[in-house]
Protein backbone atom coordinates (compact mmCIF):
# COMPACT_ATOMS: atom_id res chain seq x y z
CA UNK A 1 0.00 0.00 0.00
CA UNK A 2 2.92 2.32 0.51
CA UNK A 3 3.07 3.41 -3.11
CA UNK A 4 -0.51 4.55 -2.90
CA UNK A 5 0.17 6.79 0.06
CA UNK A 6 0.45 10.26 -1.27
CA UNK A 7 -0.51 13.81 -0.61
CA UNK A 8 -0.70 14.82 3.04
CA UNK A 9 0.73 11.61 4.40
CA UNK A 10 3.78 11.72 2.17
CA UNK A 11 4.60 15.17 3.42
CA UNK A 12 4.28 14.04 6.98
CA UNK A 13 6.35 10.91 6.51
CA UNK A 14 9.40 13.09 6.26
CA UNK A 15 8.66 14.61 9.59
CA UNK A 16 8.41 11.20 11.17
CA UNK A 17 11.48 9.76 9.46
CA UNK A 18 13.67 10.28 12.49
CA UNK A 19 11.11 8.94 14.90
CA UNK A 20 10.85 5.18 14.42
CA UNK A 21 8.12 4.82 17.02
CA UNK A 22 5.89 7.37 15.39
CA UNK A 23 6.64 5.90 11.99
CA UNK A 24 5.53 2.52 13.19
CA UNK A 25 2.35 3.99 14.60
CA UNK A 26 1.62 5.78 11.35
CA UNK A 27 2.37 2.68 9.33
CA UNK A 28 0.11 0.60 11.53
CA UNK A 29 -2.68 3.14 11.35
CA UNK A 30 -2.27 3.52 7.62
CA UNK A 31 -2.59 -0.22 7.27
CA UNK A 32 -5.56 -0.21 9.59
CA UNK A 33 -7.47 2.48 7.78
CA UNK A 34 -6.59 1.27 4.34
CA UNK A 35 -7.51 -2.36 4.80
CA UNK A 36 -7.38 -4.11 1.49
CA UNK A 37 -9.00 -1.36 -0.53
CA UNK A 38 -7.10 1.09 -2.63
CA UNK A 39 -7.08 4.66 -1.48
CA UNK A 40 -5.25 7.65 -0.18
CA UNK A 41 -4.44 7.55 3.50
CA UNK A 42 -4.65 10.94 5.14
CA UNK A 43 -3.38 11.53 8.63
CA UNK A 44 -2.20 14.08 11.12
CA UNK A 45 -0.78 12.31 14.11
CA UNK A 46 -0.44 15.56 16.06
CA UNK A 47 -4.20 15.93 15.74
CA UNK A 48 -4.74 12.20 16.30
CA UNK A 49 -6.73 11.87 13.08
CA UNK A 50 -6.50 9.24 10.36
CA UNK A 51 -8.81 8.36 7.48
CA UNK A 52 -8.78 7.08 3.94
CA UNK A 53 -10.02 8.69 0.77
CA UNK A 54 -10.69 6.38 -2.20
CA UNK A 55 -8.20 6.67 -5.01
CA UNK A 56 -9.36 9.04 -7.69
CA UNK A 57 -10.96 11.44 -5.24
CA UNK A 58 -9.55 14.94 -5.26
CA UNK A 59 -8.43 16.21 -1.86
CA UNK A 60 -8.60 19.86 -0.83
CA UNK A 61 -7.12 21.68 2.11
CA UNK A 62 -8.65 24.63 3.90
CA UNK A 63 -7.01 27.22 1.65
CA UNK A 64 -8.07 25.42 -1.52
CA UNK A 65 -11.63 25.24 -0.27
CA UNK A 66 -11.72 28.99 0.15
CA UNK A 67 -15.21 30.14 0.98
CA UNK A 68 -16.99 27.34 -0.81
CA UNK A 69 -18.13 26.51 2.70
CA UNK A 70 -19.30 29.80 4.24
CA UNK A 71 -16.98 31.00 6.96
CA UNK A 72 -14.44 28.23 6.44
CA UNK A 73 -11.64 30.50 5.28
CA UNK A 74 -11.89 32.51 8.49
CA UNK A 75 -12.12 29.49 10.77
CA UNK A 76 -9.18 28.61 12.97
CA UNK A 77 -9.00 24.87 12.65
CA UNK A 78 -6.43 22.36 13.84
CA UNK A 79 -7.03 20.31 10.72
CA UNK A 80 -9.20 20.40 7.64
CA UNK A 81 -9.51 18.30 4.51
CA UNK A 82 -12.29 17.87 2.01
CA UNK A 83 -12.51 15.52 -0.94
CA UNK A 84 -14.72 14.96 -3.96
CA UNK A 85 -15.35 11.88 -6.07
CA UNK A 86 -16.56 13.96 -8.97
CA UNK A 87 -14.55 13.06 -12.13
CA UNK A 88 -14.42 16.80 -12.76
CA UNK A 89 -13.90 17.81 -9.16
CA UNK A 90 -14.35 21.22 -7.67
CA UNK A 91 -14.25 22.54 -4.11
CA UNK A 92 -17.83 23.60 -4.66
CA UNK A 93 -18.90 19.93 -4.77
CA UNK A 94 -18.57 19.68 -1.01
CA UNK A 95 -21.75 19.89 0.99
CA UNK A 96 -24.03 19.91 -2.03
CA UNK A 97 -26.47 17.36 -3.47
CA UNK A 98 -23.72 16.34 -5.87
CA UNK A 99 -24.27 13.14 -7.85
CA UNK A 100 -20.82 12.11 -6.59
CA UNK A 101 -19.88 11.61 -2.95
CA UNK A 102 -17.77 14.15 -1.11
CA UNK A 103 -16.37 14.24 2.39
CA UNK A 104 -14.90 16.68 4.82
CA UNK A 105 -12.94 16.29 8.01
CA UNK A 106 -12.42 18.99 10.57
CA UNK A 107 -10.59 19.11 13.88
CA UNK A 108 -11.11 22.18 16.02
CA UNK A 109 -11.25 23.46 19.54
CA UNK A 110 -14.47 24.10 21.36
CA UNK A 111 -15.10 27.56 22.75
CA UNK A 112 -15.69 27.74 26.52
CA UNK A 113 -19.44 28.06 26.02
CA UNK A 114 -19.44 25.02 23.75
CA UNK A 115 -17.33 23.11 26.27
CA UNK A 116 -19.87 23.85 28.96
CA UNK A 117 -22.94 23.00 26.91
CA UNK A 118 -21.76 20.15 24.69
CA UNK A 119 -23.81 16.97 24.94
CA UNK A 120 -23.70 13.68 23.08
CA UNK A 121 -26.73 14.79 21.10
CA UNK A 122 -25.16 18.18 20.47
CA UNK A 123 -22.21 16.59 18.69
CA UNK A 124 -24.37 16.26 15.59
CA UNK A 125 -24.49 20.08 15.45
CA UNK A 126 -20.74 20.57 15.33
CA UNK A 127 -20.56 20.95 11.55
CA UNK A 128 -24.12 21.92 10.75
CA UNK A 129 -26.32 23.52 13.43
CA UNK A 130 -29.24 21.20 12.83
CA UNK A 131 -31.06 22.08 16.02
CA UNK A 132 -30.86 25.79 15.27
CA UNK A 133 -31.90 25.26 11.67
CA UNK A 134 -34.76 23.06 12.82
CA UNK A 135 -36.12 25.92 14.90
CA UNK A 136 -36.46 27.83 11.60
CA UNK A 137 -38.00 24.84 9.85
CA UNK A 138 -34.81 24.23 7.90
CA UNK A 139 -33.31 21.39 9.86
CA UNK A 140 -32.38 18.01 8.51
CA UNK A 141 -34.30 14.81 9.11
CA UNK A 142 -32.66 11.78 10.61
CA UNK A 143 -32.38 8.94 8.12
CA UNK A 144 -30.83 6.45 10.50
CA UNK A 145 -30.68 5.62 14.16
CA UNK A 146 -28.03 7.77 15.89
CA UNK A 147 -25.26 5.65 17.31
CA UNK A 148 -23.32 6.72 20.41
CA UNK A 149 -19.61 5.95 20.25
CA UNK A 150 -17.19 5.47 23.14
CA UNK A 151 -13.46 4.80 23.03
CA UNK A 152 -11.38 5.31 26.14
CA UNK A 153 -11.65 8.93 27.13
CA UNK A 154 -13.36 9.86 23.86
CA UNK A 155 -17.07 9.92 23.31
CA UNK A 156 -18.91 10.51 20.09
CA UNK A 157 -21.81 9.85 17.82
CA UNK A 158 -22.64 8.70 14.34
CA UNK A 159 -25.70 10.21 12.69
CA UNK A 160 -27.23 10.27 9.22
CA UNK A 161 -29.38 13.12 8.03
CA UNK A 162 -31.27 14.27 4.97
CA UNK A 163 -30.77 18.00 4.70
CA UNK A 164 -33.00 20.28 2.57
CA UNK A 165 -30.14 21.90 0.68
CA UNK A 166 -32.53 23.60 -1.73
CA UNK A 167 -36.22 23.09 -2.49
CA UNK A 168 -36.72 19.69 -4.03
CA UNK A 169 -33.01 18.96 -3.97
CA UNK A 170 -31.98 17.51 -0.63
CA UNK A 171 -28.67 15.91 0.24
CA UNK A 172 -27.99 12.95 2.48
CA UNK A 173 -24.99 12.78 4.75
CA UNK A 174 -23.43 10.72 7.46
CA UNK A 175 -21.45 12.37 10.25
CA UNK A 176 -19.09 10.83 12.77
CA UNK A 177 -18.03 13.13 15.58
CA UNK A 178 -15.73 12.60 18.54
CA UNK A 179 -15.00 14.83 21.52
CA UNK A 180 -12.29 14.48 24.14
CA UNK A 181 -12.84 14.11 27.86
CA UNK A 182 -12.10 17.76 28.54
CA UNK A 183 -14.75 18.61 25.96
CA UNK A 184 -12.47 21.20 24.41
CA UNK A 185 -11.64 19.51 21.09
CA UNK A 186 -13.79 17.84 18.44
CA UNK A 187 -13.05 15.65 15.46
CA UNK A 188 -15.80 15.67 12.83
CA UNK A 189 -16.17 13.63 9.66
CA UNK A 190 -18.98 14.14 7.15
CA UNK A 191 -19.65 12.28 3.92
CA UNK A 192 -22.60 12.82 1.63
CA UNK A 193 -24.09 13.47 -1.79
CA UNK A 194 -27.48 13.57 -3.47
CA UNK A 195 -30.21 11.26 -2.21
CA UNK A 196 -29.93 9.00 -5.25
CA UNK A 197 -26.15 8.87 -5.01
CA UNK A 198 -26.30 8.17 -1.28
CA UNK A 199 -28.73 5.30 -1.78
CA UNK A 200 -26.66 3.82 -4.59
CA UNK A 201 -23.31 4.22 -2.81
CA UNK A 202 -24.39 3.67 0.77
CA UNK A 203 -22.15 0.65 1.31
CA UNK A 204 -19.08 2.53 0.05
CA UNK A 205 -20.04 5.57 2.09
CA UNK A 206 -20.35 3.36 5.15
CA UNK A 207 -16.91 1.85 4.51
CA UNK A 208 -15.28 5.25 4.12
CA UNK A 209 -16.99 6.55 7.27
CA UNK A 210 -15.89 3.50 9.24
CA UNK A 211 -12.28 4.24 8.32
CA UNK A 212 -12.37 7.57 10.12
CA UNK A 213 -10.11 6.99 13.09
CA UNK A 214 -9.36 9.25 16.03
CA UNK A 215 -6.63 8.18 18.38
CA UNK A 216 -7.44 8.27 22.07
CA UNK A 217 -4.58 9.87 23.95
CA UNK A 218 -6.38 9.79 27.28
Amino acid sequence: MAERVRGPLRRRRGRFASVPGSLAVVATLAAMVSGCASGQAVSDSAQQVFFQVPSGWRIYNQVQMGNNIPGLAQSKLYFFRAASANPRPSPSDVFTPSPYPWLLVEVRSLAPSEQSQMTLEGLSNVLLPNDTLASYGQGGALIGVPRPLFKGSLRGSEVSFQYPFSPGDPLDYRQVTWVDNRTDKVWAFMIGCSVTCYENDESQIGRIASNFYVEDKG
Binding site: Q115, S116, Q117, T119, L120, G152, S153, R182, G218
Partner: protein, 254 residues
Protein backbone atom coordinates in the same frame (compact mmCIF):
# COMPACT_ATOMS: atom_id res chain seq x y z
CA UNK B 1 -38.83 17.03 56.31
CA UNK B 2 -35.62 18.68 55.25
CA UNK B 3 -34.84 15.95 52.83
CA UNK B 4 -37.95 16.72 50.88
CA UNK B 5 -35.87 19.26 49.09
CA UNK B 6 -33.50 16.61 48.04
CA UNK B 7 -36.31 14.22 47.42
CA UNK B 8 -37.84 15.87 44.45
CA UNK B 9 -37.96 19.62 44.46
CA UNK B 10 -34.24 20.08 44.18
CA UNK B 11 -33.81 17.68 41.34
CA UNK B 12 -34.72 19.29 38.07
CA UNK B 13 -37.36 17.78 35.81
CA UNK B 14 -35.92 15.19 33.52
CA UNK B 15 -33.32 14.28 36.06
CA UNK B 16 -35.73 13.23 38.73
CA UNK B 17 -34.15 11.44 41.56
CA UNK B 18 -36.88 11.39 44.10
CA UNK B 19 -36.89 7.69 43.63
CA UNK B 20 -34.05 6.13 45.42
CA UNK B 21 -33.02 2.57 45.08
CA UNK B 22 -30.34 1.19 47.27
CA UNK B 23 -29.82 -2.52 47.22
CA UNK B 24 -27.68 -2.73 50.30
CA UNK B 25 -26.85 -0.60 53.28
CA UNK B 26 -25.76 2.57 51.54
CA UNK B 27 -23.86 4.10 54.38
CA UNK B 28 -21.84 1.23 55.66
CA UNK B 29 -18.16 1.85 55.65
CA UNK B 30 -16.53 0.49 52.54
CA UNK B 31 -17.36 -3.17 52.34
CA UNK B 32 -15.58 -4.56 49.36
CA UNK B 33 -17.39 -6.75 46.93
CA UNK B 34 -20.80 -6.42 48.47
CA UNK B 35 -22.56 -5.88 45.20
CA UNK B 36 -20.57 -8.22 43.04
CA UNK B 37 -21.35 -5.96 40.11
CA UNK B 38 -17.93 -6.44 38.65
CA UNK B 39 -17.61 -10.05 39.39
CA UNK B 40 -18.33 -12.33 42.25
CA UNK B 41 -16.62 -14.88 44.40
CA UNK B 42 -13.62 -14.83 46.61
CA UNK B 43 -11.18 -13.58 44.03
CA UNK B 44 -13.20 -10.53 43.12
CA UNK B 45 -14.03 -9.80 46.72
CA UNK B 46 -10.42 -10.19 47.72
CA UNK B 47 -9.19 -7.92 44.97
CA UNK B 48 -11.76 -5.31 45.87
CA UNK B 49 -10.81 -5.60 49.51
CA UNK B 50 -7.21 -4.96 48.55
CA UNK B 51 -8.22 -1.93 46.53
CA UNK B 52 -10.28 -0.65 49.42
CA UNK B 53 -7.40 -1.18 51.80
CA UNK B 54 -5.02 0.69 49.52
CA UNK B 55 -7.56 3.44 49.12
CA UNK B 56 -8.07 3.64 52.83
CA UNK B 57 -4.34 4.12 53.25
CA UNK B 58 -4.17 6.58 50.40
CA UNK B 59 -7.11 8.55 51.70
CA UNK B 60 -6.14 8.45 55.30
CA UNK B 61 -2.41 8.17 55.50
CA UNK B 62 -1.47 6.41 58.69
CA UNK B 63 -4.01 8.05 60.93
CA UNK B 64 -7.40 6.75 61.90
CA UNK B 65 -8.98 10.15 62.24
CA UNK B 66 -11.58 9.57 59.59
CA UNK B 67 -14.59 7.48 58.75
CA UNK B 68 -14.51 6.05 55.27
CA UNK B 69 -17.71 5.92 53.29
CA UNK B 70 -18.56 4.75 49.84
CA UNK B 71 -19.38 1.74 47.77
CA UNK B 72 -16.78 -0.36 46.03
CA UNK B 73 -19.40 -1.61 43.57
CA UNK B 74 -19.70 1.90 42.23
CA UNK B 75 -16.04 2.78 42.79
CA UNK B 76 -17.16 5.63 45.03
CA UNK B 77 -15.20 6.62 48.12
CA UNK B 78 -14.87 9.58 50.45
CA UNK B 79 -14.16 10.25 54.08
CA UNK B 80 -15.58 12.34 56.87
CA UNK B 81 -13.96 13.19 60.21
CA UNK B 82 -14.04 10.45 62.82
CA UNK B 83 -16.91 10.88 65.21
CA UNK B 84 -19.36 12.15 62.65
CA UNK B 85 -22.76 10.54 62.74
CA UNK B 86 -23.36 8.26 59.77
CA UNK B 87 -26.98 7.53 58.90
CA UNK B 88 -27.86 3.87 58.75
CA UNK B 89 -30.08 2.42 56.08
CA UNK B 90 -33.16 2.42 58.36
CA UNK B 91 -32.57 6.09 59.06
CA UNK B 92 -32.19 6.84 55.36
CA UNK B 93 -35.41 4.97 54.76
CA UNK B 94 -37.16 6.90 57.50
CA UNK B 95 -35.95 10.13 55.97
CA UNK B 96 -37.13 8.81 52.60
CA UNK B 97 -33.73 9.03 50.98
CA UNK B 98 -34.09 5.36 50.06
CA UNK B 99 -36.67 2.63 49.90
CA UNK B 100 -39.66 4.67 48.83
CA UNK B 101 -42.34 3.26 46.53
CA UNK B 102 -41.35 5.93 44.04
CA UNK B 103 -37.81 4.56 44.09
CA UNK B 104 -39.04 1.17 43.02
CA UNK B 105 -41.08 2.72 40.24
CA UNK B 106 -38.12 4.74 39.03
CA UNK B 107 -35.95 1.66 38.97
CA UNK B 108 -38.59 -0.26 37.05
CA UNK B 109 -39.01 2.53 34.55
CA UNK B 110 -35.29 3.18 34.19
CA UNK B 111 -35.54 6.83 35.18
CA UNK B 112 -32.63 8.96 36.26
CA UNK B 113 -32.29 8.21 39.96
CA UNK B 114 -29.86 7.70 42.81
CA UNK B 115 -28.61 4.16 43.07
CA UNK B 116 -26.44 4.88 46.08
CA UNK B 117 -26.91 7.37 48.91
CA UNK B 118 -25.00 7.99 52.10
CA UNK B 119 -25.35 10.72 54.67
CA UNK B 120 -22.97 11.87 57.36
CA UNK B 121 -23.38 14.68 59.84
CA UNK B 122 -21.18 16.56 62.25
CA UNK B 123 -23.38 15.65 65.18
CA UNK B 124 -25.43 12.86 66.67
CA UNK B 125 -28.53 10.91 65.76
CA UNK B 126 -30.60 13.60 67.44
CA UNK B 127 -29.35 16.22 64.99
CA UNK B 128 -30.95 14.61 61.96
CA UNK B 129 -34.41 15.43 63.21
CA UNK B 130 -34.05 19.15 62.57
CA UNK B 131 -33.62 20.96 59.28
CA UNK B 132 -30.92 18.92 57.70
CA UNK B 133 -29.42 20.79 54.78
CA UNK B 134 -30.31 24.16 56.27
CA UNK B 135 -29.25 23.23 59.76
CA UNK B 136 -26.41 24.38 61.93
CA UNK B 137 -24.23 21.31 61.48
CA UNK B 138 -22.33 20.36 58.34
CA UNK B 139 -23.96 17.55 56.41
CA UNK B 140 -22.32 15.47 53.70
CA UNK B 141 -24.30 13.54 51.11
CA UNK B 142 -22.70 10.99 48.81
CA UNK B 143 -24.68 10.05 45.75
CA UNK B 144 -24.29 7.83 42.73
CA UNK B 145 -26.93 8.49 40.10
CA UNK B 146 -27.91 6.27 37.22
CA UNK B 147 -28.77 8.49 34.28
CA UNK B 148 -31.59 7.57 31.97
CA UNK B 149 -30.32 6.97 28.39
CA UNK B 150 -32.39 9.83 27.05
CA UNK B 151 -31.09 12.21 29.73
CA UNK B 152 -27.54 11.00 29.06
CA UNK B 153 -27.81 12.24 25.47
CA UNK B 154 -28.40 15.74 26.77
CA UNK B 155 -26.00 15.84 29.69
CA UNK B 156 -23.33 18.52 29.61
CA UNK B 157 -20.83 19.94 32.06
CA UNK B 158 -23.29 22.77 32.59
CA UNK B 159 -25.95 20.20 33.48
CA UNK B 160 -23.74 18.93 36.27
CA UNK B 161 -23.38 22.37 37.79
CA UNK B 162 -27.01 22.38 38.87
CA UNK B 163 -27.89 18.72 38.75
CA UNK B 164 -28.24 18.38 42.50
CA UNK B 165 -29.52 20.49 44.10
CA UNK B 166 -31.50 21.80 41.16
CA UNK B 167 -30.67 25.48 41.07
CA UNK B 168 -32.97 26.34 38.17
CA UNK B 169 -35.90 24.83 40.02
CA UNK B 170 -34.96 26.63 43.22
CA UNK B 171 -34.72 29.94 41.36
CA UNK B 172 -38.06 29.36 39.68
CA UNK B 173 -39.55 28.90 43.13
CA UNK B 174 -38.21 32.23 44.26
CA UNK B 175 -34.97 31.21 45.88
CA UNK B 176 -31.97 33.50 45.66
CA UNK B 177 -28.89 31.62 44.51
CA UNK B 178 -25.38 33.07 44.52
CA UNK B 179 -22.10 31.48 43.56
CA UNK B 180 -19.57 31.11 46.34
CA UNK B 181 -16.87 30.64 43.71
CA UNK B 182 -16.95 30.27 39.93
CA UNK B 183 -17.70 26.72 38.79
CA UNK B 184 -14.54 24.77 38.09
CA UNK B 185 -14.12 21.85 35.75
CA UNK B 186 -12.74 18.62 37.13
CA UNK B 187 -11.08 16.07 34.87
CA UNK B 188 -9.93 12.77 36.33
CA UNK B 189 -8.93 10.10 33.85
CA UNK B 190 -11.97 9.34 31.75
CA UNK B 191 -14.25 11.24 34.10
CA UNK B 192 -15.29 14.85 33.67
CA UNK B 193 -17.18 17.02 36.04
CA UNK B 194 -17.60 20.25 37.93
CA UNK B 195 -17.01 21.68 41.36
CA UNK B 196 -19.48 24.32 42.45
CA UNK B 197 -20.41 26.25 45.56
CA UNK B 198 -23.62 28.20 46.17
CA UNK B 199 -25.51 30.16 48.77
CA UNK B 200 -29.21 29.54 48.40
CA UNK B 201 -31.82 31.53 50.29
CA UNK B 202 -35.54 30.88 50.24
CA UNK B 203 -38.48 31.33 52.61
CA UNK B 204 -37.91 27.74 53.69
CA UNK B 205 -34.40 28.50 54.88
CA UNK B 206 -30.94 29.19 53.62
CA UNK B 207 -28.15 26.88 52.66
CA UNK B 208 -24.48 27.16 51.75
CA UNK B 209 -22.81 24.23 50.06
CA UNK B 210 -20.19 23.01 47.72
CA UNK B 211 -19.97 19.80 45.76
CA UNK B 212 -18.11 17.84 43.15
CA UNK B 213 -20.04 15.92 40.51
CA UNK B 214 -18.34 13.80 37.87
CA UNK B 215 -19.71 11.66 35.08
CA UNK B 216 -18.41 8.88 32.88
CA UNK B 217 -17.92 9.10 29.08
CA UNK B 218 -21.37 7.67 28.24
CA UNK B 219 -22.86 10.21 30.68
CA UNK B 220 -24.96 7.43 32.18
CA UNK B 221 -23.57 7.65 35.70
CA UNK B 222 -22.89 10.59 38.00
CA UNK B 223 -20.89 10.45 41.22
CA UNK B 224 -21.61 13.37 43.51
CA UNK B 225 -20.35 14.53 46.87
CA UNK B 226 -22.23 17.37 48.55
CA UNK B 227 -21.31 19.21 51.75
CA UNK B 228 -23.26 22.02 53.29
CA UNK B 229 -25.53 23.46 55.95
CA UNK B 230 -27.07 26.83 56.73
CA UNK B 231 -25.20 29.82 55.35
CA UNK B 232 -23.88 30.90 58.73
CA UNK B 233 -22.84 27.33 59.49
CA UNK B 234 -21.19 27.05 56.08
CA UNK B 235 -19.24 30.23 56.61
CA UNK B 236 -17.89 28.81 59.86
CA UNK B 237 -17.12 25.38 58.42
CA UNK B 238 -16.25 26.06 54.80
CA UNK B 239 -12.68 24.92 55.20
CA UNK B 240 -13.70 21.63 56.74
CA UNK B 241 -16.42 21.06 54.14
CA UNK B 242 -13.97 21.84 51.37
CA UNK B 243 -11.50 19.30 52.71
CA UNK B 244 -14.19 16.63 52.85
CA UNK B 245 -15.23 17.34 49.28
CA UNK B 246 -11.56 17.03 48.30
CA UNK B 247 -11.55 13.41 49.50
CA UNK B 248 -13.87 12.18 46.75
CA UNK B 249 -12.33 9.30 44.84
CA UNK B 250 -14.01 7.54 41.96
CA UNK B 251 -12.54 4.42 40.46
CA UNK B 252 -13.91 4.05 36.98
CA UNK B 253 -13.21 0.92 34.99
CA UNK B 254 -14.77 1.99 31.71
Amino acid sequence: MPHKKSDGTLIRPGHRSRNIKVQVNPVAQVRPGRRGRRGSGRTAAGATAAVAAVLALALGGCSSSATYLGDSGYGFYYKVPAGWYVASEPVLKRLQFVGTPAAATAAQEGLTRPVYVSLALDGTANDIEGPLLQGGRPVVLGYVFSINPSDAQNFSLASLESFYPDIQSARSQGASVKQIFPPRYVFRGQLRGTRVGYFESSPQGDMGYQEIAVMDPPSDKVWLLFGGCSISCYQSHSSQISKIIDTLRVIYHG
